[in-house]
């Protein structure tokens, strides 16, 4: 039995300790916003926050999150109360197919909370782990810079 906090709520699971967090969140807790893209830490589609840090959950066993705070895209914001990045994503029509976008936004949110005013190059470096096959990169980058510039309080 492993216990942790998921989007602010205490949860527990019987999943085997080597189960990647992604699959526990998707299959056992039925939160589908975090995506599977590669299963090997290469694409960022599965990105969540562990105690505020962006982590690749397809290769993170749940044994490693016991007692930790996990935030998924569902915990970041909702259509009624979106995170500033989510609002910017909508306003700038960032998503195409949208499949990579929860991971992109979780990485971007972690970046802005660590570095509220990144340069273009810093954005590129921080986001290089997130693949977007639809090629939304110019808009992702611009939306992050827009949010940073607007000086939103970014909290994770």
């Amino acid at each position: 039995m492993i216990e942790f906090r998921l989007n602010g709520e205490a949860v527990r699971t019987d999943d085997a300790p080597d189960t990647p967090l992604l699959w526990t969140v998707r299959d056992s807790f039925k939160l589908k916003g975090s995506k599977y893209g590669c299963g090997a830490g290469l694409c960022g589609a599965c990105t969540m926050h562990l105690d505020g840090q962006a982590v690749r959950t397809c290769i993170l066993p749940i044994a490693a999150v016991a007692g930790k705070d996990i935030t998924t895209i569902e915990g970041l914001g909702t259509p009624d109360s979106p995170h500033p990045l989510q609002a910017a994503w909508e306003a700038s029509s960032v998503p195409q197919c949208g499949y990579c976008q929860p991971g992109q936004i979780m990485s971007a949110a972690a970046l802005l909370s660590a570095n509220p005013n990144p340069s273009g190059e810093e954005v590129e470096t921080a986001m290089a782990g997130n693949i977007c096959r639809c090629g939304c990169y110019p808009r992702i980058k611009q939306a992050i810079l827009d949010v940073a510039k607007a000086g939103h309080e970014v909290q994770v």
């Binding site: 085997a16 259509p79 609002a87 029509s93 197919c97």
Partner: protein
Amino acid sequence: MNAVNFSRRKFLRNTGVAGGGLVIGISLAGCGGGLPALRGSPGSLVPNAFLEITPENIIRFVCPRDEMGQGVTTGLTTLIAEELDVTPSRIQIALAGPHPDYDNPAFGMQATGGSTSIFAHFTQLRQVGADVRALLLRAASEDLGVPVSSLGTDDGHVLLGGARHPFGDFAATAREPPLPEETPLKRASDFKYIGKDFPRLDGMDKATGRTEFGIDVEVPGMMRAVVRRSPVIGGTVKRINSEAAAAMPGIAHIVQIEEGIAVVSEKYWQAKQAADALDIEWSLPALADVTSAQVKADYKAAMDAEDGDATGEQGDLSAGFAAASDTVEHDYWTPYLAHAPMEPMNAVVHVEGDRAAVWCGTQGIGAARSIVAKVAGLDAEHVEAHSTYLGGGFGRRGTLTHVAEAAQISKATGKPIHLLWSREDDMKSGFFRPASLMRIKAGIDDSGQVSAWFAKRVGGNIMPDVVEQMLPFMLPNAVPDGVVNWLAGAVEGAMDGWIVDGVSVEGLFEDYDFPNREVRHVTKDHGLPLAFWRSVGHSFTAFAKETMMDELAEMSGLDAVEFRVRNTRNNPRLQNVIKAAGDHMRRMRPTAGRHLGFAAHHSYRTDVAEVAEISVENGAIRIHKVLCVVDCGLAVNPDVVRAQMEGAIMFGLTAALHGEINIDAGEVTQSNFHDYPILRMNEAPEVEVVIIDSDAHPTGVGEPGLPPIAPAVANAVYAATGKRLRSLPLKLV
């Protein structure tokens, strides 16, 4: 259904579908069984397959095309919204299940692809909106006791004097037939939404993780399946030892299907681990003897030794070469490619006695239903099919083997099955963009005209693979398998024997005047399954054609733009795009160490020219900026057009810089994003898109941005280094 229908582009040519005059196949009756999305609330107005207006004035649009990121839900909703007179964001969007009313007018079947959606539905869906608005006005005039002429509309309301009456108030009265037909459409100058920028309608759901993709589907009692397939595509199970796997926690079933062995559990991770523990020996197919080097060598031998089939002849080629002052000949190589959409293949299927259901994100939900019906031994009417959003398509989701697999597993276990392919499965066991060897020999005369153009391609054809895959599922179940196989073989033979598959050479010869030309095709197929891949034939032909045009421009002493202008006298729309991009190029003024390359291409009725600004550092090519000029007729949502150009450029850059699928002893050597790298943000250029102002009928947008980018970069590399690169991916060392 006639097999020719599968030739998505050829079909289009044969039937001559034109901009206007599309037949609207909408039935007022029969909206029961086949339209799950529209089994609306009681009291709703459901005038046709596309719209529902509830008494509460909720307006639902059933989108007939599949949303794979290209913005089709936004685009098609805009068409309805414009004529119905409702703000697009007020309309709720549902995704269509299979029904003939949702056929793509360009194909005569329910499929999304070929950059056709806006082109094919532009008139049809506006007509739907206009007719329903007329219906609501008629009902309002009856209910309010005033003539229609005294009424107006605004954002889902009927206006009378100062009063606003929601459309929904008239839903009951409007249910009386007949539905008005051929209501006059708005003039372009009156458009409120078409041609205007506003945010995509699916943006917030996608930014908050709420969009449901196939991988996210949950149905009660659902189990998860993972399949182990032959390392060489097409191999079959010879011997299986499943003892270790069966003993692993949570494993409910292990079943053999046509493609391999399926492991079923309540949890994906358990199924995945047990599948990895299976001990399987495979019987390998002929493909097992093939390596990439062999493919290349075979193509080269065929290029030199075989004449192949002729197509696209014009004028007198030898006279053209005789008139040439300069002649040049080169070969161009482009490899196999994977589509690698971010969402790997998956499907949920439940076969339950005499009924079945399927949920998936696909470019052809009707075919998905037929496949499930065929596997389950049911009539298609007894299979419910639900579309989800697609986590990328690019042609990969026009293939459906994963649906057939899920159906087999569900049939064997009696459970609803969620089948997920891993990234490795997708990379190694999927379908691929065919490899090509192309040869171009061209002559130019003293006036800078291309006087002779000989182009030849060697490679596999996509159409026979598509037909072979789809035909068994598109015929009635009553047709015996033997007949189906014979038919599939006959179609394939026919395509190999006496016609050139149009998509194998498209784009190799059509764009320029070329008064004397000849195109030949030699089919060489080593058995790797082939599929449409974003921009299909254009994805490789544009590279050969446009790098050759650059070389000819230099030989002629003209600049890249002027040379192309001189050779597009018969193609004014492409010529105009070339000129416009040339004007922008002259203003680009790259700083020291940066160089420009130009390319232009016509595909999917759309003309695009691109300028790449690059630098070369230590042999590495870096793309800093891309300028893209596009004429796609009227841009229904200009920002979506810009996004598609940006996306197609990134997709094309992945192919230009990294993309390569190789085979060794028949096995695909790439497996995941470490050895099949996708362009990342730190490699992505800034993109500027210029849309030519036009009120012509809209043309393709999803694919045409892709073909010019690889040659634009290759031409810039030549400007930077003096080296002509004639193979993809581009490598300097």
